[in-house]
């Protein structure tokens, strides 16, 4: 017979707590029966949250798949503009940070506080390093107008401005809809028509140092050199608009690139917050062999941030 009908004498205090007859682990929440139940629940909860993250990014992966299936030439062309070396370094940085995170969990389980804190700081360092490299990558792209949407079609240097000043036939239908100014739309129309029609005058007005088919086929190093050359001339950016090989719709590649790596970057920042919190708690001495669940769960989150990048990297940087 269980005591749903409580007897007044059962009460140990007026908080409504009953006397278990043994000491509570201070980390045991009131509604759990045991530390094991609490830990198991936390782990299941975190794995479910990771499932939501997979589905969240999954939507963007589906968008990528649809865009790439419909525009395969765009993806293989535009991928070459991405800096594979920087992306590769970032991949290594994240994988290493996952290692240091896993080590941190191990040290927490062993109660080795100093090493735990060190590994957490190293993981944080990896996150910072990743974001620094990303900053450089992004700023190069933005500098070269290799960005999303209509901004892709804004002229970046003198040769391209020359392109746009010579109006060719206007298109029958406007290319870009939406609440944008008429001037910008017109400039894009003209730029797009130049690319589609590939007029001879436009090609000849392009500086030979600008990035073109020859530069691309010579490999990333040559492309980098070409970019530097044009920059040192006082003009900015690569002449992607002037490249007669550029497929229509290349802006879509950069659109989805920034969406996916941007969202991933936001998750890296969130991860830094989590790691920072773990550093603070570890420093306080909260974790040891009896209780280290937050480190464990934080580690799971960090691993999935790493895993998502491991999918992003080949899909954007390694397609030929």
């Amino acid at each position: 017979m269980t005591s749903i009908q409580a007897n007044p004498s059962d009460h140990a205090d007026d908080q409504g707590h009953d006397d278990h007859g043994h000491g509570h682990d201070p980390n045991l929440a009131h509604h759990f029966e045991s530390m094991e139940q609490q830990m198991d629940s936390g782990k299941l909860g975190m794995w479910l949250f990771l499932a939501t993250e997979v589905l969240f990014f999954g939507g963007l992966f589906v968008a990528y798949a649809v865009l790439r299936a419909r525009n395969p030439e765009v993806f293989s062309y535009a991928s070459q503009y991405l800096d594979t070396i920087m992306g590769g370094i970032n991949t290594c940085v994240l994988i290493l940070s996952s290692l240091t995170m896993a080590l941190a969990v191990r040290f927490a389980q062993q109660g080795r506080k100093g090493l735990l804190v060190l590994c957490l700081w190293l993981t944080m360092g990896g996150a910072v390093g990743f974001l620094v490299i990303k900053y450089f990558e992004y700023s190069h792209k933005i500098h070269d107008h290799l960005v999303w949407g209509g901004t892709f079609y804004e002229p970046v240097d003198e040769s391209q401005k020359l392109l746009l000043e010579t109006p060719e036939e206007a298109l029958d239908t406007p290319l870009v809809t939406g609440p944008r100014e008429a001037n910008a739309a017109e400039a894009r129309d003209i730029a797009m028509s130049q690319i589609v029609n590939r007029p001879e005058e436009a090609a000849s007005s392009v500086k030979t140092a600008a990035l073109g088919p020859a530069g691309l086929s010579a490999g990333p190093a040559a492309a980098e050199a070409a970019i530097e050359e044009t920059e040192s001339d006082g003009h900015s950016g690569a002449g992607h608009l002037a490249d007669p090989e550029m497929p229509v719709g290349t802006h879509l590649f950069f659109g989805i690139y920034f969406c996916m790596t941007g969202l991933h970057g936001i998750h890296v920042v969130i991860g830094m917050g989590v790691i920072g919190w773990l550093i603070w708690r570890s420093q306080r001495g909260d974790f040891g062999p009896k209780y280290n669940t937050p480190v464990d769960l934080g580690g799971l989150y960090w691993h999935i941030v790493d895993l998502i990048w491991i999918f992003l990297f080949p899909l954007f940087y390694l397609i030929h």
Binding site: I4, A6, D40, L67, V176, T177, G178, G249, H251, L252
Partner: protein
């Protein structure tokens, strides 16, 4: 303070010394605002959801009143304003009311107690879910200050990405945040059901409401993130014009529909599954009959959850997708009707030869079965390709989804509210008034929406401000029905509130239930149970006896075989 135990007598309204229950345990605004008690969180959700229901309902009445005559009816309401009315009605009802209502308001309260647990697995996350709901609701209101939105609750592109109506981004952000509220509630429930069941309660000894909430929680966790990313893409598209959904830039507006419905179809099962769980409880308790086909109902809940992910294309039959996709989606849509039908047959079999009490919860339960049958069967009209060509985007669709969303999910929610009202607030509502309220709602509902089936099959399109004169008579009848329904809801609100002040004090077990929530006091104490209770067959009513002294039912423990609880 002593705790009122299950056998202490208080059949009448004689004054009693103050007792410790979750309502009186602590006092003050902060003790509610920062509570971790699932019962208080459930109650706060209930107030919030019912408040949103009132606002969404007012928009509905505005829509129906405007439709009394073709063209302009209400002064100052033109087509643009009308579009805002039905959009707000839909968005509020879907995102603020129906999706959260049963899991967050009733489920939060009842689920841990049914498990004999002290709380859900993650009480702080639970409170977080509530505040995310609040933020989402606030953003929806803020969007009105920016010009509102008139895209329809479905936010289809290219209109939603290009319209200059300024409230789109605020409300879409709000819905994004509401999505996380839903995800975290689902996550909480999955973990609670997996990890916090008491000794002896195997999966197949859980009350069926928990199976239903579990299946719902699975959908919430897996489907809602896709809505999140879809809305994020919509915002990015508006702000940055990437070109994802813009054909001129190489994108595809139908892609948005695929993304949107990939969530929104499972979402409708988030709405209906917990409702079905409530019906399993109501029907069995108020017919005093063991539920028929427990395992069939349990498995069908999970089957519906799985199938719900495979049918989204039936919202897009006329969008231009390939005939092959149309056929596949139509076929799977037909098969998703099967587990739902299994449940209906099981409920009918439960009623057969039961000792049926005709009270308000039972009436709502019976009403559910009737209205869900109509709603479900008309879903087949829409799932059939050749009829859907004619019925898509007509009032037939509107009638169908109101029968399942309102006539079923909402009706079940109100039935559940009455069923657990004594437990939650410790008072009985006036039964006669309850029956009046149900009658007004039921009659009003059918007058409103059955007429709309006829409107739709005769060709009246949905979301139209203006219409041909031959439709007017149907619109007038439907609008009159909506006023009757509104009267029923206001009446219900009135007598429920009134019961808080002068209702008869409720015993622990007013209805004769066998599941664990009926074995603690009404209202429950702060931590639900003093020690983990033992478990029996929660549908075995033979051991539940009326106790005159108690003024309610009591489980006769001498008849419960503790060794083999499900004898």
């Amino acid at each position: 303070m002593t705790t009122l135990d299950a056998t202490s007598p208080n059949p009448s309204n004689t004054p009693v010394p103050p007792v410790d229950n979750y309502l009186t345990y602590t006092r003050g605004f902060l003790s509610w605002a920062l509570t971790l008690d699932h019962k208080r969180i459930g109650l706060m959700y209930l107030v919030a959801v019912l408040g949103s229901f009132l606002v969404g309902g007012i928009f509905a009445l505005l829509v129906r009143t405007e439709l009394l005559t073709p063209g302009a009816t209400i002064p100052g309401v033109d087509a643009e304003v009308y579009n805002q009315f039905f959009t707000l009605h839909g968005a509020i009802m879907v995102f603020l009311v129906i999706i959260p209502s049963i899991p967050a308001a009733l489920g939060n309260f009842v689920l841990p107690i049914m498990l004999g647990a002290k709380d859900v697995a993650f009480p702080r996350l639970n409170l977080g879910s509530f505040y995310l709901w609040i933020i989402g609701a606030v953003l929806a209101v803020v969007s009105l200050a920016y010009g509102g939105f008139d895209t329809g609750w479905t936010f289809y592109t290219p209109y939603s990405t290009t319209t200059t109506t300024g409230g789109v981004i605020p409300v879409v952000t709000g819905v994004f945040i509401l999505g996380f509220s839903s995800i975290f509630t689902g996550l909480n429930f999955v973990v609670t059901i997996h990890k916090l069941r008491p000794p002896g309660m195997t999966w197949f000894r859980m009350p069926l409401l928990l199976w239903a909430l579990y299946a719902t929680a699975l959908i919430q966790v897996l489907a809602t993130p896709v809505l999140g990313i879809t809305l994020l893409m919509l915002i990015v598209e508006r702000v940055f014009q990437i070109g994802l959904f813009d054909p001129a830039m190489g994108g595809d507006p139908v892609l948005f529909q695929h993304f949107f419905w990939f969530y929104s179809h499972p979402a409708v099962y988030i709405m209906i599954l917990p409702a079905m769980g409530i019906i399993s409880e109501i029907i069995s308790v108020h017919a005093h009959r063991h539920i028929f086909g427990y395992r069939f109902i349990a498995f069908s809940s999970v089957a519906i959850a799985i199938f719900s992910f495979l049918v989204w294309g039936h919202h897009m039959f006329t969008s231009g997708q390939s005939p092959l996709m149309n056929v596949v989606f139509s076929l799977i849509t037909f098969s998703v009707a099967i587990p739902s039908a299994i449940k209906v047959f099981n409920w009918m079999a439960t009623l057969y030869r039961g000792s049926i009490s005709i009270n308000t919860p039972m009436l709502y339960g019976l009403g559910f079965i009737f209205l869900f049958t109509i709603g479900g069967l008309t879903g087949l009209h829409l799932g059939t390709l050749n009829t859907d060509i004619h019925l898509h985007d007509t009032y037939f669709v509107v009638a169908h989804f109101h029968y399942v969303m309102m006539g079923s999910a909402l009706i079940a929610m109100i039935g559940g509210l009455h069923h657990w009202w004594p437990k939650m607030v410790g008072r009985m509502y006036n039964e006669k008034w309850g029956i009046i309220g149900f009658s007004l709602v039921f009659i009003g509902f059918n007058v409103t929406f059955f007429t709309q089936f006829m409107l739709g099959s005769h060709g009246m399109p949905r979301r139209y401000y203006n219409y041909q004169p031959e439709f007017q008579i149907y619109h007038v009848i439907s609008t009159i029905g909506s006023y009757i329904m509104a009267a029923g809801f206001f009446w219900t609100l009135f007598y429920l509130l009134q019961s808080l002040f002068s209702g008869v004090k409720a015993p622990s077990n007013p209805w004769g239930g066998r599941s664990l929530e009926w074995q603690c006091t009404s209202p429950p104490p702060h931590d639900n149970f003093k020690t983990t209770p033992s478990v029996g067959d929660c549908y075995d009513f033979s051991v539940v006896k009326w106790d005159e002294e108690e003024g309610g039912y009591v489980v006769d423990r001498s008849e419960v075989d503790e060794e083999r609880p499900d004898h």
